[in-house]
Symmetry: C2
């Protein structure tokens, strides 16, 4: 099979957006039950095609069938979770304030809910060819709330993107969704034209800081700026206390090795900077660790080039020690563990404390809390921050510091692996994300909605969610008090 | 009394932000009860100083003591409402997912809440010297959730700004809030430096499209872009059906006259474009209406200049008729009603369908639903849209159209007057606002927070809101199900 490069022309893009706009007019009037049914049908049809899809994905990404099969399950599970979210109804954030003629000034009847924004541009990532691509969390959350989606395919897996889109558009059509509710565009120029297209109401992106920043800037520079939900770059600091290193350094070294080489280090939550005590068991164990599982082909040539440049940047800083692995050459990335003392890391933060995408991690040796704190100050916003401590450690101040730095603070685990649940938050201060919203978990739906309030509206024009008798049976706040039907 | 122009120097700005940053470290650890107490104390002290404040405000804004006294009550009521919001606790959006070892892959324990962003820059408006100024809704919502505020004073009321800030900072100090939790800066250069300051975590703005766009662009161009919550410009379309005009044209004309001249037309929700049938009672009645209450001094010389230029732009379009009033000269703005046929309005949308701040409204005569729809298509995003119809009118399609255009759709009323309640939404598509959040009402608190999730955290490090026994007694979603304590 050969891959034919395809570039979506600008006239074709206009036609795709026109169809998306028409689809929006249908979808925003569809019931929650209808939209839930559409995406559940997509999930079912993708699951049914898992063998075919995983085969294509493995050819294009080299991520291996076991990982890819799990990723399909996660992706279809995510679609089904968003179906549950819209049926539950809280995602509409309904608030009803009854009129109060006795107030000064008299208060009107006000009924607020969220409505979908309009067609959403989704820029797919390379490292999760299912879960952050054509049918990833961005697409699932947008389709669930009534927003048509135009996916910009990642050039790293073009055939998989097309096949996934075919299965999904067929499933949507057969389930009764409007024509154009999901579409795929390809090519650099189409991607630029998409973010600037007048009919696009919002955009989401997962990828590099450089790519995300370029799209963010264009979204902000539009005559009508649109929301841009970008997930860019993250070093995901880990802090190991001396007590934890003493108690279970070998176990932590094995856990770290598995985490930073997982998916050949191509996870946005890869632990990239690990604070350890001097002369740690972790460092000693890593020097002997079998890292060969982390050697492999990266997703694209440009990621490989970036990895080689990034690892050279790290080892080029004076006093950086190579603990394990080495600089790779050729088509496969070699795993690498480097180490440096905290003062050097702080001094060379620009070279050392920035993300290098691929199977590398940097150990930062800190002698005391002051060195730890001042080096953490130099780390920019991250998706995650991890603590490995023992019960006798007082980590409250550390946790407070990490909470300012990251959107997920985790304990005694590793940041790779992001559960898709109600409480999940996958986001953090710049540059890890551009917004105050998550890209994983049910609250991701909030990104593609805006509030509307109806004042003194006749019952005949009110959406069902706002009617006095609450026909949808959804949770609402009424006159300041939360009400859950049936409770 | 003379007004001394004051410019905050850049060194002073640095010192103010450093204090705000320190205050943040205290405030984000304060309890909801403590923060509620701080802003309630501010409300009490402002109420106690109402006579003095209203006198200064009237000298600087000419808005009159009755309106200004009402605005003080609204402002302190708003502070008290946000105190209730933080005590109620839903604003933290707590979600708890317990660990599930049986899931594939096993799920960790995840506990999510919102945390404050950091110091917020608030750009005050001129037209509400209390409710959208130093202690307006932006300040109240930020202080309530734990964000220090640095207000950029509006030059239209410098003495009032300083006196309000003095009263508030004294009240905060006496109530136990950290030094620097609220500060005031003045001057154009300080305003620019503020939006670009590394310690500012978010900004809010109420004012013109040009001013808001300039600040939005700077916020987006930062090395670390920050959220910018701007309320810019809005024409607030009103649609009167033929049946409503027949049934109560005279009453509607009186209501419109009162609304568009209220505050000398200097409301962001002023009805600026009113769709009426041809040969309407409304137009005939307005020609005779007493509009003199709308004649008066505008807030600033620059607003007066903008009003004169804007009204000249309107009457300069061919086939625009002057229905009532006229072009003013000198220091007072003259109220003005103009009218045009819908096709001309659509053709000259750039001149006619843009906001003119001040006591002017444009009647657009539409002959049928098609003319109405095609002209509405040319109106940009608005804070409000209003329908005046009779029970026999089927307005569902119209309401759908207006919902796409505006954040508040109201019936049988006028858009000036924005109730501060739980359900209120004051926002809309660009250019009325830059974001998907409100600047009035309790959900405004969401703007200055970001989510954080704790994974497998020991109980000792969890914030009270996330502990298993829910010691704060706040509403939470647990394992996907909303729980309200005591219900």
């Amino acid at each position: 099979m050969t891959t034919t490069a395809t570039e979506t022309g600008l006239d074709e893009l206009d036609a795709i957006l026109a169809r998306a706009r028409s689809a929006f007019d249908v979808a925003r009037h569809a019931s929650d039950e209808e939209r839930a049914g559409w995406i559940e049908r997509v999930a079912a049809d993708v699951d049914a095609a898992v063998d075919e899809l995983v085969a294509v994905a493995d050819e294009e990404t080299h991520l291996g069938p076991v990982r890819l099969r799990g990723e399909v399950a996660r992706t279809t599970g995510q679609l089904r979770l968003f179906a549950r979210v819209v049926r539950e109804g809280s995602y509409l954030e309904v608030i009803v304030d009854h009129a109060d003629a006795s107030a000064t000034p008299p208060r009107p009847d006000l009924r607020r809910m969220l409505v979908p924004l309009g067609p959403v541009a989704v820029y797919a990532a390379s490292n999760f060819p299912f879960a952050f691509s054509v049918l990833g969390g961005d697409t699932a959350s947008a389709l669930a709330v009534g927003c048509p989606v135009v996916v910009k395919a990642h050039p790293g897996h073009p055939r998989l993107s097309r096949r996934t889109a075919e299965i999904a558009t067929t499933a949507l059509r057969e389930a009764g969704a409007p024509e154009g509710y999901l579409a795929l565009v390809e090519g650099y120029d189409a991607g630029i034209a998409l973010i600037e297209h007048p009919l696009v109401a919002a955009a989401s992106f997962t990828g590099s800081v450089a790519g995300g920043r370029a799209l963010f800037d264009r979204a902000a520079a539009r005559p009508d700026p649109i929301p841009f939900f970008g997930e860019l770059g993250s070093v995901n600091p880990v802090v190991v206390t001396p007590a934890a290193d003493s108690a279970r350094g070998a176990e932590l070294a094995a856990g770290l090795a598995a985490s930073f080489t997982s998916g050949f280090g191509q996870f946005c939550t890869k632990p990239g900077v690990v604070f350890v005590p001097p002369a740690s068991t972790i460092e000693r164990e890593l020097a002997e660790a079998p890292l060969e599982a982390g050697r492999g082909p990266l997703l694209t040539d440009s990621i490989l080039r970036g990895y080689l440049a990034g690892t050279r940047r790290l080892v080029g800083v004076p006093d950086v020690d190579v603990v394990a692995g080495g600089l790779g050459e050729g088509p496969e990335a070699a795993p690498l563990v480097v180490a440096v003392d905290a003062p050097t890391a702080a001094e060379h933060a620009g070279e050392l404390l920035e993300e290098v995408f691929g199977p590398v991690t940097l150990l930062v040796r800190y002698r005391d809390g002051a060195e730890l704190a001042s080096t953490l100050e130099r780390i920019r916003g991250s998706l995650t921050a991890t603590v490995h401590a023992e019960p006798e450690d007082d980590v409250r101040e550390l946790v407070d510091r990490l909470t300012r730095l990251a959107g997920r603070v985790l304990f005694s685990g590793w940041p790779t692996g992001v559960a898709v649940t109600w409480a999940q938050h996958h986001g953090g201060p710049w540059p890890s994300t551009t917004s105050q919203h998550t890209s994983v978990g049910t609250t991701a739906a909030r990104r593609f909605q805006r509030p509307v309030v109806y004042q003194d509206a006749p019952a005949a024009v009110l959406p069902a969610a706002l009617r006095e008798d609450n026909p949808l049976g959804i949770p609402r706040r009424v006159d300041g008090v939360l009400e859950i039907p049936g409770v």
